[in-house]
Symmetry: C2
Subunit: 194 residues, 2 copies
Amino acid sequence: MRSAEFDRSHVLEQAMHTFMEHGYAKASMQKLTQATGLHPGSIYCAFGSKKGLFIEAVSYYHQQKLLAFEALFSDDQAVLASLKQLLANTVQECVQNTCAKVCLLTRSLNEIEGQDPEIAQLLATNLQQIEHSLGEQIARAQRQGEAISDEAPLALARFITMGIYGMRTYAFTNADQNILEQMSAQLLRAIQKH
Amino acid sequence: MRSAEFDRSHVLEQAMHTFMEHGYAKASMQKLTQATGLHPGSIYCAFGSKKGLFIEAVSYYHQQKLLAFEALFSDDQAVLASLKQLLANTVQECVQNTCAKVCLLTRSLNEIEGQDPEIAQLLATNLQQIEHSLGEQIARAQRQGEAISDEAPLALARFITMGIYGMRTYAFTNADQNILEQMSAQLLRAIQKH
DNA sequence: GATATACTTGAATGTTCATTCAAGAGTCCT
DNA sequence: AGGACTCTTGAATGAACATTCAAGTATATC
C-alpha cells in the first residue's frame, strides 16, 4: 500500500482556478499539470480524464458556493438583508480583475452549450439547486412578514437568479461597480412590496 | 481579372451558424469549410484567419440584430409595446432547439473572457450599441408619456439588457417557455410606472 | 486566341492537444 | 530485510488542429 501524495482539495482548487481563468476548452492539460503540480499520469489516475477533472472541479466550486450561501442566509437575520448582501458580493466578484470575476457554472454553461449534454446537465442541476435554496429563503421572508412581493417564492427566486446571471454577462461588457450596484438595487426593488 | 465565385453574405451566414452551434473554439476549420463550402485556402484568402472570419461573422450577426431592432421600434408604435415584443421574440429564440437559441454575442463573450481582448472588445461594443439604442427608445417613451418609470433612460435600458442576458443563460438551465414569459413580464413590470 | 492576372484547390506542414504506459520509486506487511 | 503492491514519472503516441503554398483553373483584356 501507498497513499496518494497530493492533497485532493488543493489539486481541485488549482484546477478550478485554471478552468475559471481559461474556460474548459482552453484549459489545456499542460496548463492543468502546471497549476496542480501533478503529472499527466497522476491526473488520469485520479480523475480519469480532463472531463472527469472538470466535473470534480465544478462540484468543488458548487460546494463552496453552497456553503457561502448557507452562511449568508443564517436563520437569525432578515432574508432581504442577506439577499442584499448576496447581490453586493456578486458585484464585488464581477469587478475583480482576477478569475474570481467569473462564475464557473454560468460561464461553462455558455461555453459547453450544444457540446456535452452530461456536463450541461451537471451545471444546470447545480445552478437549480442554488435557485431552489433561494426560493426557500424567499418563502421564509414571506412567512416572516418582510416587505417582499407575494408572488410565488420560486418565481421570485428565478427572477433574482436570472438577474445574477445577467449581471455576470453584463459585467463582461462593462465592469463598472456603480452600474452593477444600481442593477442590484433595481432587482431588489422589483421583488419588494410596494 | 476574375471575380470571387462565392457569395460573401452566404458564406458569413453559414459561418455564423457554425459559430453559434459550436462556439468559437470548437468550430474547427474543418466544420467551417464544410458549412461554407469554401476550401481552407479560400477562407484564408478572403478572411485572413479563423479569427478574421469570426469577427466578420459576428459583425454580420450584429448587423442583422440591429436591423431587426430598428424594424421593431418603428416610430409609429408605443415603445412599451415594442419592448414587450422584443422580449417575446427573445423567449421564442431561447426555446428553439436549433442554434437560433443562442445569442452569438453573449455566448462568445462568456467563452472568450480572458482569452482575446480584441474580440471581447468587439463583442462588448456591439452589445453596448444595442443597449444604447434601447436607451433612446426608452427616452422617447418617457417623452411620449407612456407608463414607464422616470429613472434615467440608460439605467432602464441597462436593466432590460441585463435581463435579456440573464434570460439567455437561464434558458440553458431550463428552457421552459412559461417561465421565460413570466420573467419577461417581471422585467417589464419593474420598469413601468406604479 | 494568346497572355496576364487573378482565384481555387486540397494535400502538406508543423504545432498543440489529450491520453497512455512502461519504468522507476516509495510504502507497508510479514 | 524482503517482497508485494501501488503510486509517480515524463517521454511517447496519435489524433486534431490552424495554416500555408505550389499547382491548377477560370476569366478578362488585347
